[in-house]
Symmetry: C2
Subunit: 201 residues, 2 copies
DNA sequence: TTTTAATTAGACCAATAAGTCCAGTTTAAA
DNA sequence: TTTAAACTGGACTTATTGGTCTAATTAAAA
């Protein structure tokens, strides 16, 4: 079997790295095991030694990708309320229209039907984290008397939905246009104002 | 060549119908031309006679599906403001978590990379219609003095985002849970209230 | 050094699928 | 009835791919 020898672990990392890049860019069916082996600079047999079959390799690759997307960077919810919401809106608003984020999301959503575990991983490491963190923050701010959100999870859901907005719909379908993009920052600031107008205590 | 003879047109419709059902359910790569022919009760050659190749058949099927999803049913924006928004939220909120709607959306988003025309069709017949109609309605209500939305398209974007909410994210990834589902109507009513609190004149 | 695990390159297998071809049959128009 | 278009079923070609097997090579541990 495979132990944690240095060389072997190196190969494993190379394979995973290549798999992540190729799968996220081109999807499950378009990528062959031979291509992964080639891009990893490794023989096909070695790929099969480390990851038993294509589906397992795919799942490992997606999980790895989800963890490395950098979602956490958007989640520093500290400081004064409005500043905090604004910062989150701008950061997370950029994050969700990034090419890598979108490709991963679309891939997981699409393959969700025949690989349920995949969608579960993505949801748990992605949307669920964000909604939960935001809920917690809103509950806290309500407790502090700064906000009035009796249902923090609903408020989180609403805020997230607004931050996505038209830009997210367009980006997902490769229909982003100049107008939506240059107006995006103003739109996000406006959404924060709108949210506070409805929920500020 | 193929004229508009009755029998021939019938066959064409049968093929398209089968293609729509199969492609939407299982995606592009999973469906073979032989399967389409079989489900349409037609020979493979006939499929190729009517639609030159697999990609053309796919595009035709998706366009057909987009037009028949029944989006328009959500778009009767008439009557008193709050009633109208509530009705829209409930109808559209249901529409976007329907299985057929989701499958079509995910398919188009996923195939958007290598079939750009497809994503364009979907965006034009789907999201774009909704945002535009809602914008128009908000502009009108602002003109009437009932709302105060200086940027109607932003407000539309925000309202749509809220209507999607957590349920949409979950449904897309097959992670719908009981709680989110039974609370959905209350959530949508709450979103209408929240929107009006921020934007009612 | 010896031995054992890991890797490699490439042949190989079985299955699948897009698209073509064709001889014979059905359909419908003239 | 004649004729031409449309359809059928199935064989066929060509190409791809997931996965296995093997003999030879390399690397590391004992």
């Amino acid at each position: 079997m495979i132990k944690n020898r240095t060389k072997s672990e190196d190969k494993r990392r190379l394979i995973l790295k290549a798999a992540v890049r190729l799968f996220v860019e081109h999807g499950f069916t378009q990528i062959t095991m031979a291509k992964v082996a080639e891009h990893a600079g490794v023989s096909k047999q070695t790929v099969y030694s480390h990851f038993g079959n294509k589906e397992d390799l795919f799942a490992a690759a997606i999980e790895n990708k989800c963890l490395s997307l950098g979602l956490a960077d958007s989640l520093h919810l500290e400081g004064e309320l409005k500043t905090c919401l604004t910062l989150f809106a701008l950061r997370f608003g950029s994050f969700i229209i990034e090419d890598e984020t979108l490709k991963t999301h679309k891939l997981c959503a699409f393959e969700a039907n025949h690989l349920p575990q995949l969608a579960e991983i993505f949801f748990r490491l992605g949307p669920d984290v964000v909604i939960s963190e935001l809920s917690r923050y809103f509950a806290y701010k309500t407790e502090q008397g700064k906000l009035n959100t009796p249902e923090p999870r609903w408020a989180a859901s609403q805020f997230l939905g607004m931050v996505m907005g038209e830009a997210r719909l367009r980006a997902e379908l490769n229909q982003m246009d100049e107008k939506t993009l240059v107006e995006r920052e103003q739109y996000l600031l406006n959404s924060v104002d709108m949210f506070l107008k409805a929920y500020q205590a």
